[in-house]
Assembly symmetry: C2
Homo-oligomer: 430 residues x 2
């Protein structure tokens, strides 16, 4: 169904080669037209437009899909849709595909329905879901090793790393959607005595986010083979980090104010179904690495799949904007290099009976790879040595005011439709 | 106004000496009469009864307090009431006091109003608020020192402790109200190889919780002198901890599955106003300790007040129940011994611009004191040495299935009305 290149849409811009939002993608988001006035509504990205699910439901295009599903499409956030099982979600997806594909019977009626579409340029994108809890993992062994080396050169990876999908709870209240300015945080910087002032080591982290679909009850676990049924879809995440605040505060209870001043997410949630063709077996573990414990293992394909998603970071400084230069790409990484799969993260999270709820956000932690081009944060790029040299001649050890960080993501392979994530942007302000 | 012993209520049980809920207390909670059927409603504890604010509002007893306040009293959780400023909250409190005090003009009408009161025994108590984010501090220097000694005998307190009010984000989804059974969690226990099985080191932690009232905008800080205006009130918190899971997972990002399987809170929220008479200056810092940084300091009384609240832990085992024995008190501590005040915790939390929202829960971390009788968790009591001996001859290093942990709290002093917190109970089940 998805991922195959044959299907085209009658929305012409959806067929542009290299576009993010072809008919095989159909990501969900929440938007409104007139900022501050129109009630937020759920939309689906198609080409350069958004299909308005509120209008679709009211105009009867979702009839027969079930009352629960229609009600969920009328909501102001995706939580209700996320709570539905995979069967209902697939029915909705199929209906949307049928409505939007080339030659669709409903094309003329849809074209004539007022408000059925909104241009993406005319829309204000909002946070896609009410996020109850936000959890951040540490799933890239390359990231953990490089960062660990800065703190413990002789022993970069802690003994638990290859057994436990390490994670911590982040802050839900300060999750903002792409485009929201990020204020440079103040905090205690290490020193003798420490000093409360603006951070001098502001960094980004390139991450993939997983939105939880149906949840589990408190006290119940989620077997690995069922874990993916609890994942609704993916977004991009920038886990902004003030390294100086973090370094001073993080022992013994982990990161807190060094992280919780802001986390930026992309507005479009790319579903599991859209990425079906981009499953790949998880990377082989290195010789000598332990096999995952039984609760994190399973027959091939059952929770052991990674996803072949390319993630990139670009930086645009104030000066680059003045010079009219394009943002400079400073990282390209792939989530297939992660040490733990999405299913393993979900299963581990619930392995003590912790309840996950629809709309909860799990992030992978910084996605890095083995190569120097795939270092997902400035701490990895510049931490031990030389600053980063940008194409206009500027250098950066950490972010400066006015810098904009742009995360992008996509899955593509010859013969398969490209699935894009759009952008996750944030500019540092004072 | 509050805290003075002179005022009595025409609700006779509110005047019982040593009772928790006299007319000077008036804590808020959420309850319903017929489990699963009646819509949850806000109530105020008075003696052995609950005044139903939903009925009060409908019957016109809250007239003139403002539409926002009346609407907040009709809600199914306290968030709306918490969001209002201190002025409005004081108006509501004053109205309730006038309605309930001895000689009140409205006594007869109130007595005749159907459903105005519900017996506490007839009520099912629910979580008082929708908790957006839950943060747990580490504010007891005695707890931090004792626990640190188990891990680092030569250097128990880390260098940041006396500068930074250390905290981490906990899990909001698994916060449950008193009386909810707590299932013993499974998890990875340290070993070679580690083993996924039921925890063998289940512990409680005695804590005080702070509910946030009015919040702050993302990017804005909260000056110390204004911090208390952002605190609505207090509850009891049991931060259940699986020490074996925690020990293996917690480096480098802090506690996760060792904590997030359950956190129990007491149902009644005791307001800041009720505790006004129990303010005490924060404990003097030890000679050689640094003064708090300027953003955490202020003139006396401005955010430098502690609260004189006694907290206790009792344990009741299966066998003690069979023998008809009373629960055994195993700890008595006081929040005046904490190293950081509630105001300092709030100000620190927002010092990087992190936004707090009405209904967010901040907990103090384990409340312990210098003496052996004031160790707020089993890790402190038995960690290095002998197990705890219970009055029936049983011993405990950690909790066993069937053990019930009962936290209580109160403020009392000669000549002042006693302010009780009620109970925070949880029984360990398999």
């Amino acid at each position: 169904m998805s991922g195959e290149i044959a299907v085209r849409s009658w929305v012409e811009t959806a067929n542009a080669p290299g576009g993010a939002f072809g008919i095989g993608n159909l990501p969900y988001g929440v938007f409104r037209r007139a900022p501050g006035k129109e009630r937020p509504r759920i939309g689906v990205a198609i080409g350069d437009r958004i299909l308005d699910l509120r209008v679709m439901a009211h105009a009867g295009f979702l009839r027969g899909l079930g009352e629960g599903l229609e009600a969920a499409c009328l909501a102001q956030e995706l939580n209700g849709l996320m709570a539905l099982g995979g069967g209902e979600q697939r029915r909705l997806r199929e209906r949307l595909r049928v409505l939007l594909e080339e030659g669709a019977r409903e094309e003329a009626v849809l074209r004539a329905t007022p408000g059925a579409f909104c241009g993406q340029r005319e829309a204000e994108m909002l946070a896609p879901a009410r996020i109850g809890d936000y959890t951040d993992f540490y799933a890239s062994v390359d990231h953990a090793t490089r960062v660990g080396r800065l703190f413990r050169p002789e022993n970069p990876l802690l003994p638990n790393y290859k057994w436990v999908p390490i994670a911590y709870h982040g802050r839900a209240s300060s999750i903002v959607v792409s485009g929201t300015p990020v204020r440079r945080p103040c905090g205690q910087l290490p020193g003798d005595p420490p000093l409360y002032t603006a951070s001098r080591a502001l960094d980004y982290e390139l991450e993939l986010g997983l939105f939880i679909g149906p949840g589990n009850e408190l006290g119940e676990t989620i077997p690995l083979g069922e874990a993916e049924e609890h994942v609704f879809g993916f977004c991009l995440v920038n886990d902004w980090s003030a390294r100086d605040i973090q370094r001073w505060e993080y022992q013994p209870l982990g990161p807190f104010l060094g992280k919780n001043f802001a986390t930026t997410i992309s507005p479009w949630v790319v579903t599991m179904e859209a990425l079906e063709a981009y499953r790949v077996p998880a990377a082989e573990r290195a010789a000598g690495d332990p096999a995952p414990l039984p609760y994190l293992s399973g027959p091939a394909g059952l929770g052991r799949d990674a996803f072949d998603i390319t993630l990139e970071v670009a930086i645009e400084t104030e000066r680059m904007r003045e010079l009219g230069m394009a943002p400079a790409r400073v990282c390209q990484a792939n989530t297939r290099d992660l040490y733990w799969t999405p299913a393993q993260m979900v299963t581990h999270h619930a392995s003590n009976g912790c309840n996950l709820r629809p709309g909860d956000l799990l992030a992978t932690g910084t996605v890095s790879g083995p190569g120097d081009e795939s270092r997902g944060c400035l701490l990895e790029i510049t931490g031990g040595g030389e600053p980063l040299l940008l194409p206009d001649g500027e250098t950066r050890r950490y972010l400066e005011d006015g810098d904009e960080v742009i995360l992008t993501g996509y899955a593509e392979r010859p013969g398969l439709e490209r699935i894009g994530f759009g952008e996750c942007r944030g500019r540092v302000v004072r």
